[in-house]
Amino acid sequence: MSSSSAALATAGTAPRVPLTKKALTADHPTWCPGCGDFAVLASYYRVLEKLQYPHENIVTLAGIGCSSRFPYFVNTHGVHYIHGRSLPFAAGVSLGRDDVHVFVFGGDGDGFSIGGNHLVHTGRKNVNLTYVIMDNFVYGLTKKQTSPTSPIGFKSKTDPTGSIDQPINPMQTLVNSGATFVARSHAGQVNHMTEMMERAARHEGFSVVEILSECVEFYEGAFDAAVPRKGGQFRTIELRKNDGTPEDALRHDPSDEVAAFRLASEPWPGVFGVFYESNRPTKNKLEAGLIAKAREKTKSASDLEVLQATFRRMR
């Protein structure tokens, strides 16, 4: 997402009351105690407090799933849309209104299964919005079925003897799709997660953060391998500084798709941080360019004049 209209906030006439966590808090979350999603919500408040967008210009959107209850817990303009289709809806909001900031929240089922097609195409179109996928490797709202990210062997109600289907690799899928900001974090690492979400929000284009967010009810301990206090390892990606030092060559260049793809192939639990970032033009910009060209041709005639001219040609 761009910060282009953040400038509008400061340029406004009346000084605004700063946007606080208190003003952003809405209904109490209905998630189970211990759910990873609470931390994601807390990070979102912190990001919004930092960015200080005008309150009425923030939109929080979701599809269906435990995580997709998100909009009810945030006091912004909110939309609870249908399963898997939150991205095209959000893209409509983003393209329809360049002055609003669009955040979409959802789970692995929403993003990689029923909405998989939309993930790829929103990436390809590079629509300016931020998408946070709270990935718990299981269907929680419907009480423990296999998800597209469940590992092989995962026992669920739809795979009582263990899942047999190869799981999606989210980072590889996202890099492939054309998303222009792709990052990965963990709900147990609040500072890292907040940093990733803030970078995603400031990015102009389709920015996606996958957050491993544990379902304590149906897949307890799923992400322990990345939790240091449980004996795991939280390895972060060191980004290239372009400082000319020999050790810098070993750091990750986020504009390198092939390197990002290779990083995404690291064995479980993999690495965390920014996998990929590029500044390919957004659909928002490209559409604005088409409009400018069309208006140049019509010499900025009024809507009425343009339509009247069209009807004259049909005489």
Partner: protein, 617 residues
């Protein structure tokens, strides 16, 4: 042609010495293959009629293959009300043997058969018609020369028709250079060479088949425009304030989305080609949520894919226009034929109790105005509105008075005004007024727009009492719309034997049928429903004035013997007098089919003999 065919008309035609017979209206059927450019000359004839203040209507079939296959274009042009493209042709132009064989029986007895003698050998025994063989292919190649082969024979035929019907050559020349002017000069020159060659066909080849249209009765105050249903609908949407939308290609809806994609930019808008139908509905609802009047559309199967989103739009009470250009179904069905079999889908085809608005335009002109009405209703009642048009309306060309755009254009601006402390997204006692992002809320409490059942503030709730109240709220606003609608006008007899009820593109053939039926002494009226859901008031009183009510529609009689609208009307009014006349051959109603259907139900003999009139030329 409806006037006596023997009035001599002296005119300034090339045959001023010869007799030209006056005609009032004429049906010309051009039959060839899809790559022959038949649609192009059909379009020229239609636009010429429009520019000459004549009435015009066209009918075409296109194969659903990419290139090749038989294709026809039928033009009916003339004076007076042209309501249908005509049951039978007065003139048949056959480009190939298969065109001749497939269409010779659609020519009226006594009509004129013009055939390409390079490709067609008509049956010499068949003396029902006046047959004129012209080496169309050879003469075109000769006229144009070069390597263009027989490309341009469509324009040769246009020249020939211009000669036969004494059409305005200067106006046609203007149309040709407008059509091809953007291309190279060669193309315009070759087109004119082919046209001139057709026009110069020696008079002795044309026997006594030379005609002159009578002068149009009165020229209307406004200039006429000539266009097809999909374009009229598209520009109606723009006039209604639509600047945003999304779709996915499917025949015959596609030309609406293509035109919106290329036009909306001029108005500062965006039309998105989405990855699928579900995404198209999502984009459109995102645009709607962000404060714009938005559109999505499709044809039958695509509408099925949008149904979940439509359920959300009803629950969230989001204004939206949804177009369905109906075609033959189910499934891929008959993609390039016409059917009215999506009515139930439009009204009921979603999950849950999801009342919404369904409208259907009656002709090409109404495609423009129905879009304005859809926009008005969507805004006022904060609801999705479906427009059911069809393949026949989508592709046929008609001429009509240019709309008064200065009066009709609707301001597309989103309402971002601050909402007061009393703002509720879903008040129980008022119609929902959506607050788009950018609108501040005085209480500082921002609304969630939700597909879950919700309370007045948009909070999700499973409270049964509230679900009943909210379900009633969504129902009552649509009922309120129904009560506010105008009572449909009865055409023809205000009371009597049969009331014909129609919807959508059957309006023209029904009206002509009513005229013919009244001429043979039956007392017949017609009402045509533009508002299909909710229905307009007072239908009961109108139905009661007729012994029988016959619902004419292009869909199947179903398991219980009634078409889709007939089923609805029987359920709504519980009247045994409501009957059904349906058909599923993928073609528009012929007038004779309606006339015979009514006569049969009245126990009177309705045979083709009585109602298929001999040629008028």
């Amino acid at each position: 042609m409806v006037l006596p065919a023997t009035t001599p008309t002296p005119g300034a035609s090339p045959e001023s010495a010869k007799e030209r017979r006056a005609v009032n209206d004429v049906v010309i059927r051009l039959a060839g293959n899809s790559q022959d450019g038949i649609q192009t000359i059909g379009g020229f004839l239609a636009r010429l009629a429009g520019r000459s203040d004549q009435e015009v209507m066209t009918y075409m079939t296109i194969p659903s293959t990419i290139s090749g296959g038989p294709s026809i274009f039928q033009v009916r042009m003339g004076n007076g009300d042209i309501l249908s493209s005509g049951d039978q042709a007065d003139v048949l132009v056959a480009f190939y043997q298969h065109s001749y064989e497939s269409h010779i029986n659609s020519l009226r007895p006594g009509g004129v058969l013009i055939y390409d003698s390079d490709h067609v050998a008509p049956n010499p025994e068949d003396r029902r018609f006046r047959a004129i063989g012209i080496p169309i292919t050879g003469a075109t190649v000769e006229a144009v020369g070069g390597s263009s082969k027989d490309k341009g024979k469509n324009l040769f035929v246009l020249g020939l028709l211009a000669r036969i019907f004494s059409l305005d050559v200067a106006k046609i020349g203007g149309l040709i250079s407008e059509r091809f002017g953007g291309k190279s000069e060669d193309i315009v020159r070759n087109a004119m060479l082919a046209f001139d060659a057709g026009y110069a066909t020696p008079a002795d080849n044309l026997h006594d088949c030379l005609y002159q249209f009578e002068a149009p009765a009165v020229s209307g105050g406004r200039p006429q425009i000539t266009t097809d249903g999909n374009l009229a609908l598209t520009y109606g949407l723009i006039a209604a304030g639509v600047r945003h939308g999304a779709g996915y290609p499917i025949t015959p809806w596609t030309t609406v989305m293509e035109t919106l994609r290329s036009e909306l930019g001029k108005y500062g808008g965006i039309f998105v080609q989405a990855e699928d139908e579900l995404a198209a509905a999502g984009y459109a609802l995102g645009f709607a949520y962000s404060g714009h009047l938005a559109v999505t559309g499709s044809s039958g199967p695509g509408l099925s894919l949008k149904m979940e989103a439509l359920g959300w739009a009803v629950m969230a009470e989001m204004p939206l226009i949804v177009i369905n250009v109906q075609r033959g179904g189910p499934s891929t069905g008959l993609p390039t034929n016409v059917e009215q079999s999506d009515l139930m889908q439009a009204i009921y085809g979603s999950h849950g109790d999801a009342p919404r608005v369904v409208l259907a335009p009656k002709d090409v002109e109404d495609c423009f105005y129905v879009a304005l009405e859809a926009g008005r209703i969507a805004r006022k009642y904060s609801t999705p509105v479906l427009i059911l048009t069809d393949q026949a309306l989508a592709t046929r060309i008609e001429a009509f008075d240019e709309p008064d755009l200065a009066k009709l254009m609707v301001d597309p601006k989103p309402d971002l005004s601050p909402r007061g402390a009393d703002f509720e997204p879903y008040p129980l006692d008022k119609i929902t007024r959506h607050a788009p992002p950018g609108a501040s809320i005085a209480t500082g409490k921002y609304p969630s727009v939700s597909g879950l059942e919700h309370d007045e503030l948009g909070h999700p709730t499973g409270n049964p009492a509230l679900h009943m109240k909210m379900t009633a709220k969504r129902r009552e606003k649509i009922k309120a719309l129904g009560a506010s609608l105008p009572v449909p006008e009865v055409f023809g007899d205000p009371e009597g034997d049969v009331l014909i009820v129609g919807w959508g593109s059957t309006w023209g053939p029904i009206r002509e049928a009513v005229g013919q039926l009244r001429a043979v002494g039956t007392r017949v009226g017609q009402i045509h429903l533009r508002n299909l859901h909710p229905l307009p008031p007072s239908l009961e009183e109108i139905f009661a004035r007729f012994k029988k009510v016959l619902v004419v529609e292009m869909n199947d009689e179903g398991l219980y013997g009634f078409g889709q609208l007939a089923t609805l009307l029987r359920a709504r009014y519980s009247l045994p007098s409501i009957g059904s006349l349906t058909k599923t051959d993928g073609l528009t109603f012929r007038i004779s089919e309606i006339v015979n259907g009514v006569l049969q139900r009245l126990g009177r003999a309705g045979t083709d003999g009585g109602y298929a009139k001999p040629s008028r030329i």
